[in-house]
């Protein structure tokens, strides 16, 4: 009885780690897409700032009195395009996070349904190739928490950027990169290494 429950939960864990691996790859690629967008945003902010610093009527452009307003409009339009793209990326991050959350909660629920048959000794038993169920659950939860936090932080930053504060926009890339937590990402890579034997054995 406990044997079959253990097998079921192992299967579910394998599936979860598979999707965690996919998730990590996709997450990274989406974040990588965001970097050039952030740079453009910063660049556009720089252009807007320069435009504000220049008194057009004192320059050779004085023959074009409307140019300042028109250029500002074009710049903000371009910024909107970039922000739109970024928001789209956030949506894909959200769906990644949601799918992982779903996976993890499914596994945890599966475990909770089987607590009667799986005693503590069984779930804490580890071997050289197979980590214990408790460890694996822990790692999955940690990864899920990491992505949840990351998403909220990045979404908040993006929201702040959308307000159009030029000084804030000027450091967009820096702020975006500050949110990177290489430690936690490494932790996930580490986890995936640790379970690689387990995932491959079936």
């Amino acid at each position: 009885m406990s044997k079959s429950a253990l097998l079921t939960i192992h299967q579910a864990l394998r599936r979860s780690f598979h999707s965690l691996e996919n998730n990590q790859k996709l997450w990274k690629s989406v974040l990588a897409e965001c970097i050039p967008l952030m740079a453009s945003l910063e660049n556009l902010a720089e252009q807007s700032r320069a435009l504000s610093n220049v008194q057009i009527s004192n320059t050779p452009l004085k023959d074009f009195p409307e140019v300042e307003e028109l250029l500002r409009f074009k710049l903000s339009q371009a910024m909107d395009t970039v922000l739109c793209k970024l928001h789209e990326n956030m949506a894909s991050l959200q769906s990644l996070r949601d799918s992982l959350t779903n996976q993890v909660s499914t596994v945890v629920q599966l475990y909770e349904q089987n607590t009667d048959t799986l005693d503590l000794v069984t779930v804490t038993e580890r071997s050289a190739t197979i980590p214990s169920v408790v460890d694996m659950l822990e790692w999955l939860q940690d990864a899920e928490r990491h992505y949840r936090q990351q998403f909220v932080r990045r979404k908040t930053l993006l929201h702040a950027l959308s307000s159009g504060n030029l000084n804030f926009l000027a450091t967009a890339t820096k702020k975006w990169k500050e949110l990177d937590t290489p430690g936690a990402e490494d932790q996930i890579t580490d986890t995936l290494c640790k379970v690689s034997f387990f995932v491959e054995s079936s």
Binding site: L41, D63, V67, L70
Partner: protein, 239 residues
């Protein structure tokens, strides 16, 4: 249609690529337009004023396409000039994003600077030629209006040329295009004159962003062209 999207200011890349895709799809449709087996036979079989207007619309489109290409070329040259001017100063803010493309050009000498300026002048001259062609197109379209009036009286023809517009509508739409590009050309001339002589960092940045974003060509212009293409049956509503 080689993708010329390597601007120093990388902000525009997404927008440009969208435009490029539109252009590609359009050229494909042009190939079809000459074909007798085109789905839209009603329009391809037009003669007289309709035929002329349709050709003009295609010309407008091609001219604007060439203008965009020239604008991209010119922007690359202009940013080289600005960077060369600033080579004495520290790394320019424009290059911080992608330094590898332009770092080689940073140490342009005086002769090289002159060369770049000549190249930019060349570009502006080509743009002027485009605007001149646009004017000729406009003149022929005005002529068409007169012809229509002569043929059908002040009320105009009973059956519309295409879907609903009359010749005057074409003139007013294309008039917007011509006005935009004429004033944009004036701006480009000023930029050509000033960009190499500007020492102020902010101002040169404004020059560059003016060149790139073409503030005097409103977004409406693009829409006007699309409307003309749609009316003449060279563009189809999606779906």
């Amino acid at each position: 249609m080689e993708g010329k999207v390597n601007h120093t200011v990388s902000c525009d890349c997404s927008e440009t690529s969208v435009v490029l895709i539109l252009f590609c799809s359009l050229t494909a449709e042009f190939d079809l337009a000459g074909d007798v087996t085109n789905v839209n036979r009603k329009c391809s079989a037009v003669t007289g004023s309709g035929r002329k207007l349709k050709d003009n619309a295609a010309d407008w489109h091609n001219l604007m396409l060439r203008w965009e290409k020239l604008n991209d070329e010119g922007f690359t040259i202009a940013s080289n000039i600005v960077n060369a001017r600033r080579s004495s100063a520290s790394v320019s803010p424009l290059c911080s994003g992608e330094a590898e493309g332009s770092s080689g050009d940073l140490v342009l000498g005086n002769s090289a600077l002159r060369e770049e300026c000549e190249k930019l002048e060349d570009v502006v001259n080509k743009m002027a030629a485009i605007v001149a062609k646009m004017e000729r197109l406009m003149a022929s379209q005005r002529g068409l209006v007169d012809l229509e009036e002569f043929q059908f009286g002040p009320q105009g023809r009973k059956v519309p040329l295409f879907h609903g517009w009359n010749a005057k509508d074409f003139v007013s739409s294309c008039g917007l295009l011509l006005r935009s590009f004429t004033s944009e050309l004036r701006l480009k001339r000023v930029l050509l004159r000033e960009v190499a002589h500007c020492a102020d960092r902010d101002l040169s940045l404004v020059y560059l962003s003016c060149w790139l974003h073409q503030p005097l060509v409103p977004a409406r212009a693009r829409l006007a062209l699309e409307a003309v293409l749609l009316e003449t049956g060279q563009r189809h509503l999606p779906g």
